[in-house]
Symmetry: C2
Subunit: 307 residues, 2 copies
């Protein structure tokens, strides 16, 4: 029942010897989702022990090269490894055309299918859903159409209090009904409201990925109560003008978004290559939002279960 985020890249568009461009893997109940795919992402996955064959889906925020150039080599490698499972890719248009070019020239005979779903970057919409997870788009404010992604764990199934099971001598059928959220009528005719029998084992967890973007109160609002937020902080607070002009955020913008969303924790990343030491940026963000961490490559941020 894991829920974690592993950072694979922390650089902005100009990579450095030590930092890779944007990429992360979100692990929800041992199912893996790639969020952005900067150059070198497959090698970063190998380096940090994440099997790329286990990827269920890929979410691309926007079509700038530093968020997508690593995807094509990854698609090829998955083919070399004989993947059969279709791979879903969520990305803004015209990703389909770019994918067609790639497949035509480099991967015309992949052993698996790549299924692209266009993302409307102006809408907050449910894009992906399975038994345990929903992924929603978050409109962002960048120079090109860009979406953030909100990963929401579904409410876990209700647990039935074992003391109540014993006390009322509940049958299997009654326990199953209680797990479904139903009230239970005892043989005596007494009705036990579901709330007296069951409890939520842990609160559903959530993660928001917001990159690249100017500060957006709307985006922050859509992430209200999120446990963990990644927000780009390309620039230090003093570079607010550059940030505005380039469709990026400062450390203070990131902290403001986390505070406004009442996030549990904040990760900042997508650092401009001018900042050799990201701790300077973290210190700035912490002035406004104390629970801020650096997007350190290889680091896994786990969201623990809470009642």
């Amino acid at each position: 029942m894991s829920f974690s985020v592993t950072i694979l890249g922390s650089a902005s568009a100009k990579p450095t010897a030590g930092r890779h461009p944007s990429a992360q893997v979100v692990d929800v109940h041992e199912q893996y989702y790639l969020v952005d795919a900067g150059e070198g992402v497959q090698q970063q996955m190998f380096r940090y022990g994440i099997n790329p064959l286990k990827l269920r889906a890929v979410f691309i925020s926007h079509l700038h090269g530093d968020h997508v150039f690593g995807l094509f080599p990854l698609l090829s490698t998955l083919g070399l490894y004989g993947r059969r499972t279709p791979l879903r890719i969520f990305a803004p248009a015209p990703f389909g055309e770019i994918l067609d070019c790639h497949l035509r020239y480099f991967d015309s005979e992949l052993p698996y299918s790549v299924e692209w779903t266009p993302v409307d970057t102006t809408a907050h919409a449910l894009l992906f859903e399975n038994r345990t997870l929903e992924v929603w788009s978050i409109p962002l404010r960048h120079r090109v159409p860009t979406a953030g992604y909100l990963f929401r764990e579904k409410e876990p199934p209700l647990n039935v209090d074992k003391f109540k099971i014993a006390r009322y001598a509940l049958s299997i059928a009654q326990i199953t009904a209680a797990k479904r959220g139903e009230d239970i009528t005892l043989d005596t005719g007494e009705v036990l409201p579901n709330g007296e029998l069951t409890y939520t084992p842990y609160r559903a967890r959530s993660y928001a990925y917001l990159s690249d973007t100017n500060f957006s109160a709307k985006a922050a609002g859509l992430c209200r109560g999120v446990d963990l937020m990644y927000h780009e902080a390309t620039y230090a607070a003093a570079e607010q003008r550059s940030a505005r002009e380039r469709g990026h955020s400062t450390t203070r913008d990131a902290a403001k978004a986390a505070r406004q969303a009442e996030a549990g924790r904040l990760i900042i990343g997508h650092y401009s290559s001018r900042y050799k030491d990201e701790q300077v940026l973290v210190a700035e963000a912490r002035e406004l939002f104390p629970d801020t961490c650096a997007a350190e490559e290889g680091k896994t941020f786990t969201i623990e279960k809470r009642r």
Copy 2:
């Protein structure tokens, strides 16, 4: 007057945590040429202190992703760094179509021009020439059209023996004429053959890049006398059948090519991911060609000047 090769990638198509796909930089007289451009090549250049803005031209052997996926992020980064100098790219068709796709979707406003020259992979032809260097194509035998590249330093200008200058009291005009290779007529009417006055300061140097390919006696013959040869050795000698079928070489194929070419030294690389320790492969090649080295990433092989 440098002449060296720096290895940036040593892996074959499946990259590993420790090895990058094919890429090298050839430095001829402080001018830099990129040979193949596997994923991560720009970061490898940063890592090993090679300024990508100094690249004069790129030579792509063939259009398999592990030899070309790093080129597109590099093109973008050169744009971000404000390159103005045109960049020449030599690659087999249909590279131009692939380049068009890249430029259309990712780099429609590069500040420099990218000039593609198609390489006829069936011909041994002069592709590139400047004051100090010629680059020739070498037809190879792979699953898709593939060319190797032969870097030939031009003969350095003649030096005039300073003892002869003093002995015959040669004038500036006579020295200049001697440097051009002319015979010199003294005031006495005596004619000094050019060979008595001048000497070649060092022998022109050469480097051959042969990847990916089956063993080719013809390719080896075209590299006769080469100072340094890179030859792929994807497989150990025992895997000769896999090598043949996949259009690749074994360690023995590489050594045979070097021996047949009477090469000075051999570098082997493009190792299959199954070989964790490349020294096993090097040892095999050395049985046939003792002066064999591993393509170790970050290592620079310098061809020293010799008389």
